[in-house]
């Protein structure tokens, strides 16, 4: 089949607002910038020291030489901290009107009212709006932006911060350590199970501004939480850098599900380190959708450190023109009877490049462990490409890894069948694509599944060749 799939290069969420900044650091990164960020945030001394250590590690670490080509990044082109409102507020009416309009365009409040237990929105670098339903607070759950958590819960913060993703892990984790700002902090106490998801909406607005949020989630013994992170960013001519770090600790018998649909505009460099440490009988699930950005390198990971710990990643990546998505997952089995499952669905169209890159490692002492990897790729035309780069290692003879991979095109027979019942080529293609990613969509909360379907439909709109 050689029908090209139509392109819609317009980015739907590409509106951007009048500048409402009140403070920003000078362009580029150096010790002064870092001291200034820390001073603005009125942080404790230990955090400034941490930032400086991370900064020195960052400048002494070379760029990664695998995956996407990052050699064009000039770190002096970005602004590392912008503070857009003076105070956080928990009353929507008090939020600056421009900011409110932006969120209204994204349809945020409706979603919140109807479905979500709590919401945290990040506009530029400071969280401007934060609200939680009463019942969540009453259960003793802490859901704050990360800056506030550092102020209000310093001991809990210090105990877990930097324990899962160390600043020495990679160059971009080091950069995040140096300039992090915002992100979500969640603590779910022992035995507390939340029925409704907690969610945060991130948004980058200023040209060339980096966004370096830092998320820390602690799920105590037997607790259960679903956190939903959504991202959109408006279109600008210059590239923006997004280097987030997400650290999750799931203690014995706890369960955490982290769902993301990122729809960064096509000039964003998205280099994210996401990792969870899972203790005995705990379960971590990454539901990870990537349908935007210029470059994405992201491999949500689970370290299965206790017996019977379970890790799951279900992901999609949709790469179009001028996009390079290098995504996958890592599962590190360190204890007996651990299990993991990776389902990866990739779509490449209109010259996009999408790779699955994964690591499954079952250690010497992780007996009776099992892992399953399934990665499927759908290539929609002859100019798009994909590679599957799995790395599967089993170091004991009582464990096993299953690996399945398929690469396919939308078949002429499928299109003909659907069209013969009255669907146009576009509708038929869209339906086949929706079917292909259905294993991902069905894991999302309803309103996100609807939004994702809308986004993909918009991607596919336009004249057909």
């Amino acid at each position: 089949m050689n029908k090209d799939i139509p392109v819609n290069d317009e980015y739907e969420y590409g509106f951007y607002d009048e500048n409402v900044d009140v403070f920003k650091t000078e362009k580029g990164i150096n010790e002064n910038v870092i001291r200034e960020i820390s001073k603005q945030k009125k942080e404790p001394e230990w955090m400034l020291e941490f930032r400086l250590k991370a900064y020195h590690h960052f400048i002494n670490t070379p760029m990664p030489t695998w995956g996407a080509d990052l050699s064009d990044i000039n770190f002096d082109d970005f602004t590392y901290y912008i503070k857009s409102t003076k105070e956080q507020t928990s009353d929507w009416q008090e939020v600056d009107t421009t900011i409110k309009d932006t969120f209204d365009k994204l349809g945020l409040l409706e979603a919140e009212k109807e479905h979500l237990g709590g919401i945290s929105t990040q506009y530029e670098s400071e969280v401007v709006y934060h609200n939680m339903l009463k019942e969540v607070v009453e259960k003793g759950v802490i859901f704050l932006d990360t800056d506030s958590a550092l102020r209000e819960h310093p001991e809990l913060f210090k105990k877990f911060f930097n324990t899962v993703v160390s600043y020495t892990d990679n160059k971009f984790a080091a950069l995040n350590g140096a300039v992090w700002s915002g992100g979500s902090f969640i603590y779910v106490p022992k035995g507390v199970k939340l029925d409704k998801p907690l969610q945060s909406y991130f948004r980058i607005n200023s040209e060339e501004m980096g966004q370096f949020e830092r998320t820390l989630i602690i799920v105590d013994e037997g607790a259960d939480v679903h956190y939903v992170e959504g991202c959109t960013a408006p279109v600008h001519s210059k590239d923006s850098l997004h280097a987030a770090v997400v650290e999750i600790i799931v203690l014995d018998g706890g369960r955490c599900r982290y769902s993301t649909v990122q729809n960064w505009s096509n000039n964003i460099l998205n280099l994210v380190t996401k990792r969870a440490l899972v203790k005995a009988h705990g379960s971590m699930e990454w539901i990870d959708g990537n349908i935007g950005s210029n470059i994405t390198m992201k491999y949500p990971a689970c370290i299965l450190a206790g017996e019977y710990a379970k890790g799951t990643t279900i992901s999609i990546a949709v790469a179009s023109k001028n996009m390079y998505l290098d995504a996958g997952s890592k599962m590190i089995h360190l204890a007996n009877n651990t299990s993991s499952n990776i389902v990866s669905k990739s779509i490449a169209r209109n010259g996009g490049k999408v790779n699955y890159r994964g690591l499954v490692s079952i250690g010497e002492k992780a007996f009776n462990s099992k892992a399953k990897v399934e990665c499927d790729t759908l290539i929609l035309d002859d100019i798009s490409t994909s590679d599957t780069i799995p790395n599967n290692i089993v170091k004991n003879n009582k464990s096993y890894i299953e690996h399945e991979a398929t690469v396919s095109k939308v078949s002429e027979e499928q299109l003909f069948y659907l069209e013969s019942r009255g669907l146009t080529t576009e509708q038929a293609t869209e339906m086949i694509i929706m079917g292909f990613i259905e294993p991902f969509t069905r894991e999302l909360p309803m309103e996100y599944a609807v939004e994702l379907n809308q986004l993909i439909k918009m991607e596919m709109e336009g004249a057909i060749g």
């Binding site: 003909f416 146009t424 990613i437």
Partner: protein, 259 residues
């Protein structure tokens, strides 16, 4: 009353001429049986009428009343009132049968069908076809048995209500009970607003769905037309008599073009 008129149709596949001048006129209220040895172009004719991209029209015309079908895309042919019931319906993972059917019905109508109305119609047809209720909510044809796929094609036909159905070996792989159900489904469609071309090798289908016309297609041409008595003759004698009666060299099994 509508007419599907095929004139001097020549069709090639990968530069090989398969149909070499088909003339056929089908009116609503008529059922035309299309018979003949395998590999002589029966399925090609049905797929070409529906617009399968593999088949190239070299010459000739197809009109549905005054609409030149050859000017239309596949979906437009469907919306104009044509339906192809396939010999090997394709599987589509992740798309439920019901979601697809609703999209198809919406494509055929000016305004979307309400969910309530859709489910009512769907349930009623599923029951008539004695299909397992969960088939409507499973992925399109995925894991369906051969017989379930055929019944599902009938389900689609009954809900889309075409003017002309092109049914390609819709009876293959059916047991006696299922054959009865599929035949009932076709007979129920019969009216002055519905016509069909049915390809089958077996008398047993045409016993249940009595054709008004019977054609024998050999080497890309209709070599003989008649009534129901032709079905009987073929069932008793096979196709050898054609060779003698018409002095045609019968080609055997050059392969099935549908596969």
């Amino acid at each position: 009353m509508s007419t599907l008129k095929i004139t001097d149709l020549h069709v090639s596949v990968e530069n090989k001429m398969i149909l070499k001048g088909i003339n056929l006129e089908v009116k609503t209220s008529e059922i035309h049986a299309l018979m003949g040895p395998n590999g002589n172009g029966k399925s090609t004719l049905l797929s070409a009428i529906m617009g399968h991209p593999k088949y190239k029209i070299e010459k000739g015309s197809i009109y549905l009343d005054d609409i030149n079908i050859l000017d239309l895309s596949v979906d437009e042919r469907s919306k104009a009132g044509l339906f192809l019931g396939m010999q090997y319906p394709t599987e589509v993972s992740g798309v439920t049968n019901a979601d697809f059917l609703r999209a198809a019905m919406n494509a055929h109508s000016d305004k979307p069908i309400s969910l309530f109305k859709f489910i009512k119609q769907l349930d009623s047809e599923v029951e008539k076809l004695k299909m397992k209720p969960d088939l409507a909510h499973r992925y399109l044809n995925e894991g369906f048995s051969g017989g379930e796929k055929k019944r599902n094609e009938m389900l689609h036909m009954n809900l889309l209500k075409p003017k002309f159905a092109l049914l390609d070996e819709i009876d293959s792989g059916l047991d006696v009970d299922a054959l009865q159900i599929v035949s009932d489904a076709i007979n129920e469609m019969r009216s002055d607003k519905f016509g069909a071309i049915i390809v089958s090798h077996y008398e047993r289908l045409f016993d249940l769905v009595k054709p008004t016309h019977v054609h024998i297609l050999v080497d890309g041409k209709i070599v003989k037309s008649g009534g129901y008595e032709l079905v009987k003759k073929i069932d008793n004698e096979g196709y050898d008599w054609i060779r003698e009666e018409l002095h045609i060299d019968l080609k055997e099994e050059v392969g099935n073009y549908d596969k």
